[in-house]
């Protein structure tokens, strides 16, 4: 299983990457939505993407919207992992096609529990 960790903070990518590797995933990273989109369009399609909201160039909501507009990326599960916790924004992300929503700060268990709910880990 392949995971894309999409966050503009290298420290956060490292933390999320570590959690995903420990959960059995191979991990690729990108630092903004545009770079993430290029990655999933040119490389293997990840099984899941952990998507930050607040990023330069292309934010997480724009990334989710772009991914959902492309049929060949349909099987990719999208999980927002963000500090954005306004109710109206969570509704927007889910309406745009995100499957799950985790608010920072999170615990490793919270991420793994969501992956389990999505059927991505046993």
């Amino acid at each position: 299983m392949l995971a894309l960790v999409l966050d503009d903070s290298r420290a956060m990518r490292m933390i999320l990457g570590r959690i995903m590797r420990e959960a059995g995933f191979d991990v690729v990273e990108a630092g903004d939505g545009k770079e993430g989109l290029e990655r999933v369009q040119t490389g293997p399609v990840p099984d899941v993407a952990l998507v930050d909201w607040n990023m330069p160039v292309m934010n997480g909501l724009e990334f989710v919207t772009a991914v959902r507009s492309q049929p060949e990326l349909r099987r990719m599960t999208l999980m927002m992992v963000t500090t954005e916790s306004e109710h109206s924004q969570i509704v927007r992300a889910l309406a745009a096609g995100a499957h799950e929503y985790v608010i920072k700060p999170f615990t490793a268990d919270a991420i793994v529990d969501k992956l389990s709910l999505l059927g991505l880990v046993a």
Partner: protein, 150 residues
């Protein structure tokens, strides 16, 4: 108090910072006397715009920022570049700022964090005033959090 004037309390800010510091850095923050941070320090900032306008600042001694970054990167002491320490402090500011924003009048948006480092610098938000200031500390040093309202 009307919603537009509602502000977060020192207790709420403290709880958010304690949550971030304990879950990501395994460090326990406790309230301390508010004494200005001397010497080299790191300041992270995010701006909020929308129904509420203002900025959220985090300031800590350079040594505290280094320990925090080493915890996030799982790095050996002294092994990180200045850019990596700024990245970590920026993300900690983003997390604390985002959680504080959730207590402020909505809708509003949060900026990308910016980080300043050095011995002598002054950070100001033109036209804004400090409406809350919290001084905390853990084994790695002090952490000051301030809320500025435009």
């Amino acid at each position: 108090m009307t919603l537009a004037n509602a502000v977060v309390t020192a207790e709420q800010i403290t709880a958010i910072a304690q949550d971030v510091w304990s879950s990501f850095l395994q460090l326990d923050l406790l309230p301390v006397e508010n004494v200005p941070i001397e010497g080299s320090s790191v300041t992270g900032c995010v701006h909020v715009s929308g129904e509420w306008g203002g900025s959220i600042f985090l300031q800590c001694p350079a040594g505290h920022a280094q320990v925090a970054a080493e915890a996030m990167f799982a790095a050996d002491p002294g092994s990180l570049a200045a850019e990596e320490i700024s990245d970590a402090l920026g993300e900690l500011t983003n997390m604390i700022g985002g959680n504080i924003k959730s207590l402020l009048p909505a809708p509003s948006t949060l900026s990308i964090p910016s980080v300043a480092t050095g011995d002598t610098y002054t950070v100001r938000v033109p036209g804004a005033v400090v409406i809350e200031h919290v001084a905390l500390a853990c084994g790695a040093g002090d952490l000051h959090i301030s809320i500025w309202k435009v």
